[in-house]
Structure formats: structure tokens, C-alpha cells
Symmetry: C2
Subunit: 331 residues, 2 copies
DNA sequence: CTGTTAGCGCTTTCAC
DNA sequence: GTGAAAGCGCTAACAG
């Protein structure tokens, strides 16, 4: 266990240098010596010490991924996309959760930096914007996904949130709903804002006044959706259509609606966003906007690694994937 | 960006060695110099190069986690448990999926080994047993979770599969079901076998012959559950109670049953295993055996790190957590 | 208290 | 083709 090139060199009666070159398929090694070295390496069960290599090359072939919650099926699928493609390209992924919380996010960035990852893939929390400072000090490539700082010139891959929200809203309008609620997240989050815009755009082109839309900011857990929806019902607010920022929020809302004895979609229609695996299996199969989740992870990872390997132009790359409305029972 | 102790040494007019000791809070440094070094380090935005440290210490403060599928809510929660506790203890987690597939698993072990992780946490695929060879060659601590090699003297944390399956089966029997099906996974998997035993035990104590139990081995994806259940229905097999190896399988089975126009639990009662987040939200809220998923991850990580830090006895540690039957509508 | 020397495992000049 | 020497950033002896 733990043979080094030194051991091989000794056994083969050559210099460590020659061993190194033989092992790395460099030229300037005679076939015979190469053969011998390889042979001995195998016999000694040699495995190169990548720490040493990394110390020299400055590359770890490791990427960091920061998501808000790996437990959210939406992120789980993206993570899978990242992991698959990273590994296929010879990289490994360190996974961190930010828990929708600035402090944890900052710490994660710090830790990844210390671990000398070659680059970072992340969905920023965006409750406050301090992460931008930390990131500025991080001199390696970063690719954002889902959410992105809107001023900076950065790489990111998102889905077309405006389009997605527009499709969803149009559906609600098409089935005759006029008292709409957008179950929104914190408006510091780019995707939250973008979806709101899409929603408003749809209302405008339908000739509906902005009074017909009620924006209910909340947090992003299932419970938050439940709580807010319940409050709306308790207050007897006139609501016949709900657009939730995410499927998770939608599931929470669905529970609240059903618990109150109302019917979906008869009394209130509900559309989610993301199309998580369980959307079709819910008590009321959920109409929702499908994001290509795996592909988001895949493309983000490919973009980052392309950058690392220099096969991308200088300018920031922005990939915007097309979402798609999936009709089921809830709207 | 990228200041080294050499830079600090130069600026502070001391040796690198002194800098090192000042930075690491070693004794034998005068308060004044320590002060000065720290000051300069801060000014230079110094961040230690852990690659270099690791090269010397042989420790990376990195653990590897191998799961079959991070997308499965069951594993997602375990991963979260691992990540939280690892990070709290100053470790970082590299995540790999084995995709229920021997080759990917072997590759993952290999890669983690090359990356010099300090230890590995894993759910073995257990389709074939080659992983044991690779693991034998891995001279660092390993903690298994969920599934475990049953011969070897290894650390693991699981839930009491026999007990869980017994509780589930007893429930089915208690509500009068006599034609039971165990929607099983490959029997090379330890937990699959253990649950089968629990199931059989329950039948024995109820005085039911083994003819009353039909074991349907399948694979572990939702689709597999769907397919097998459908086949049973199409063949008009007399089935009035189903115990699924996992909630995922149960969801697939539920779809098949409902699609066939049968009622749950009236026509066939269904109980799952795991209690994933969505179990209560399904079309028919799922009765299932709850595993303490987060705690499995947490305990596994703690056990591994304890080992790494030498605070565990030599003998293998086996942690068996208690499952619990959660009654909902499906059985 | 502080500096010098050596070395972790590997690669990279640069002679020979 | 091959080897000797130097160095990646850091720590661990040991002298002084």
C-alpha cells in the first residue's frame, strides 16, 4: 500500500524522473525501460499521489457544487447531472448545501476555496449580496445555475423563467381564472423576479389589470407554501388561481387547499414550477412548468470544465434552456 | 491571490518556519512576531495551501460518499445528514453515484482512493461482490450504511430491517389480508434479505403458511414496481396485500393498481418502506415503515470521523436504528 | 525564541 | 534516452 515512484525507480534501477516519464507516456523513454517500469508499477500496485501532482500543477480536478438543499428533488436531479458529467470528464464533485442561508453559503465558498477546487458551480442564496465579494476574491471559474447575479458579467445556465411563468399564467387565464396569486419567494432572488415578470406580461397581453394579481412573498420550504395558502384561505381572499414559484411550494399549497375542503382545480386551480418526479403522483396530479433539470446540471458542468480546459471564448456564456408547460389535473 | 508563507516570511523578515508556527498557534513564538505575522497574513489575504499540508500529513479532511442514486429522496436525506455533520467537523464530502451498478461503484471507489479521501461512506450495490476486493485494498476506514457485507467484520449503520418488515407485514395481516406479495429487490442485497426474513417471521407467528406469501423479485426503480405490479394484475393473481421493498417501488405499484381501476386499500392494501417526504402527499397517502434517514447519515459520518480521529475502539461498530410503522391510508 | 536543513511525491528544466 | 538538481507550499527535526 502506497508505493511511490521512488520505489519503482529503485526496483527498476532507473531514476525517478524516468519512471515519471514512463508512467505519463512522455516521449524520450525507450520501449524497454517503459515496459519494465509499467510492469513493476503494476506489481507494486502503484497509484499516483494526486496531491503531489496537484501541488505542482495547481489543478485538483475537483469541482465544488453549492446548492441550497440537495434534498429538494429539483436540485437532486441537477446534482446528478453535474456528477455524471464531471466524472465522465475526469473530475470529482464536492457537494455543499447552503440551506438558503447566507452564512452557510459564505462558509461553503471559503471551504471550497481552501480545498483548491478548480472551479465552482452554484445556485446563490441571494438573500444578501455579500457572496459577490467573496466570489470576486475567488480567482477561478464560477458557473451559476438557476439564479444569477444580474449585474455582473458571469457564466450561468438557467431556464427561461419569464417564458415559463408566462405559459403558466396563460393557462390559468385560459381556464377562466381572474383572481390570481403568485406564491412568490424573496424578491432578491433573480428567478423569483423573472417569473414575476413573466406572470405580469401574460396578464398584460390578456388585458387584465394588475389588481387581478396578488403577489404573496414567502420562503421556499413546503411548509411556507402551506402556511401562506392557509392564511389566504382563512382570510377568505378571493382566489381562484395560484401560480407557485416551485413545485415544493405548490405541494404545500395543495395540502392547504385540500384541507380546507376546497377542490382543485374546480375551486382553485394550481400550477407549479420545476416538474419534480412526484408531480404526477400527487393527490391531485400537478400541472407545472417543466425545467430540463438534468440538462441544467450537465450544461453547467460542461461549461465550467470547458472553461477550465480553455475551450471557451473569453466572454461570459449565458445558457437559457426552454421550459415547457405540462398539463395535468391541477390546472 | 495566492500568497504563501514565503511571502509572509519575506515581508515579516523571519523564516518560513516561524511563520508556519505562528500561523498554527504553536508555542515557541514570541507574541510580537506572532502578532506581526498574523497581521501580514491578513493583509496579504493569505490562505494556507491544504494540498501541501495534506501531502505532508497524509490527511485530506475529505470523505467520500457513494450512494446508488442521490435523486432517490431516501438517499438525498442521508446525504444531507452526512454533509451536515462532516462539515461541522471540518470535513468535506465528495459525492458519487453508483447507479445500482457494479462498474460505476468500482470506479467510484477507485477515484476516491486516488483523491486520497480519508475514508469512505457507502451503500454497496451488491449485485456482485467484487467491491469487497477493491475495498480490501483500500487501507482506510469505511463505514457502510443501509446495506452491508454480512460476513466481513465491518462498521455499518442500518435500520432494523427485520423489525420494520415485521411491523409492515403484521399490519397487512391485521387488516385481514391473506394473499400477500413482497415486491422485492435482488436478493444479493442484504436489506432485501433481511426484510424478507422479517416478513416471513410475521407470517409464521400469525400461523400463515408460506404459500400465502409470494416473493416477486424486481429491480429498484419506480418503473420496476409499476411493471411487476401490472404483470401481477394482468395475470389475475389473487393479491390483496403488497409489501414493497421501498417507497419508490410502492409508488410504482400504486400507479399500476390505480390504473387498473382497483381501489387502495379496499382491493389491495399497500405498504412501503423508508417514509420519503412525499409519502403523505401521494394520491393515496402511503402507509410505510419510517427509517430515521437523516440520522443514518449523521451517525455514519460521525462513526467514520471518530475512527479517523482515533476515538473508537478497534472492534467493528454496528449501529442498528429503530424503524417505525407510519399508518396512513394505503394500508 | 528563531533559523537551517531536509523532505512529503511528483514534475520540470537542463546537462550528459 | 537518461539522470541530477531544483522546486511546488508546507512542516518537522534539530541547532543555535
Amino acid at each position: 500500500v502506497g508505493a511511490t515512484i521512488k520505489d519503482i525507480a529503485r526496483a527498476a534501477k532507473v531514476s525517478t524522473n524516468t519512471v515519471s516519464r514512463a508512467l505519463n507516456n512522455k516521449p524520450d523513454v525507450s520501449p524497454k525501460t517503459r515496459e519494465k517500469v509499467l510492469e513493476i508499477a503494476r506489481k507494486l500496485n502503484y497509484s499516483p499521489n494526486y496531491l503531489a501532482k496537484s501541488l505542482i500543477s495547481g489543478q485538483t480536478r475537483t469541482v465544488g457544487a453549492i446548492v441550497t438543499d440537495n434534498t429538494n428533488p429539483f436540485y437532486a436531479r441537477i446534482i446528478k447531472g453535474i456528477e455524471d458529467t464531471a466524472r465522465a470528464r475526469g473530475y470529482v464533485m464536492i457537494l455543499c448545501n447552503s440551506n438558503e442561508n447566507n452564512a452557510d453559503e459564505l462558509e461553503a465558498i471559503q471551504v471550497l476555496q481552501e480545498k483548491r477546487v478548480d472551479g465552482i458551480l452554484m445556485t446563490p442564496v441571494q438573500r444578501d449580496m455579500r457572496y459577490l465579494d467573496l466570489l470576486r476574491r475567488f480567482d477561478k471559474p464560477i458557473v451559476f445555475f438557476n439564479r444569477h447575479p444580474d449585474d455582473a458579467a458571469v457564466d450561468y445556465v438557467i431556464n427561461d423563467n419569464q417564458l415559463g411563468a408566462r405559459l403558466a399564467t396563460e393557462r390559468l387565464i385560459a381556464i377562466g381564472r381572474r383572481n390570481l396569486v403568485y406564491l412568490s419567494g424573496p424578491e432578491t432572488i433573480s428567478s423569483v423576479r423573472e417569473r414575476l415578470e413573466g406572470c405580469r406580461a401574460a396578464m398584460r397581453t390578456a388585458g387584465l389589470s394588475s389588481d387581478s394579481l396578488r403577489v404573496e412573498p414567502t420562503d421556499l420550504m413546503m411548509e411556507d407554501g402551506h402556511r401562506v395558502m392557509r392564511r389566504l384561505i382563512d382570510a377568505a381572499s378571493p382566489v381562484d388561481g395560484v401560480l407557485a414559484y416551485s413545485d415544493l411550494l405548490a405541494v404545500g399549497a395543495m395540502r392547504a387547499i385540500l384541507e380546507a375542503g376546497m377542490r382543485i382545480p374546480a375551486d382553485v386551480a394550481l400550477v407549479g414550477y420545476d416538474d419534480i418526479e412526484f408531480a404526477p403522483m400527487l393527490e391531485v396530479p400537478l400541472t407545472t412548468v417543466r425545467q430540463p433539470r438534468y440538462r441544467i446540471g450537465e450544461q453547467a458542468a460542461n461549461l465550467l470544465i470547458d472553461r477550465l480546459e480553455g475551450s471557451r471564448p473569453e466572454e461570459p456564456v449565458r445558457i437559457v434552456l426552454k421550459p415547457e408547460l405540462v398539463l395535468r389535473s391541477s390546472a
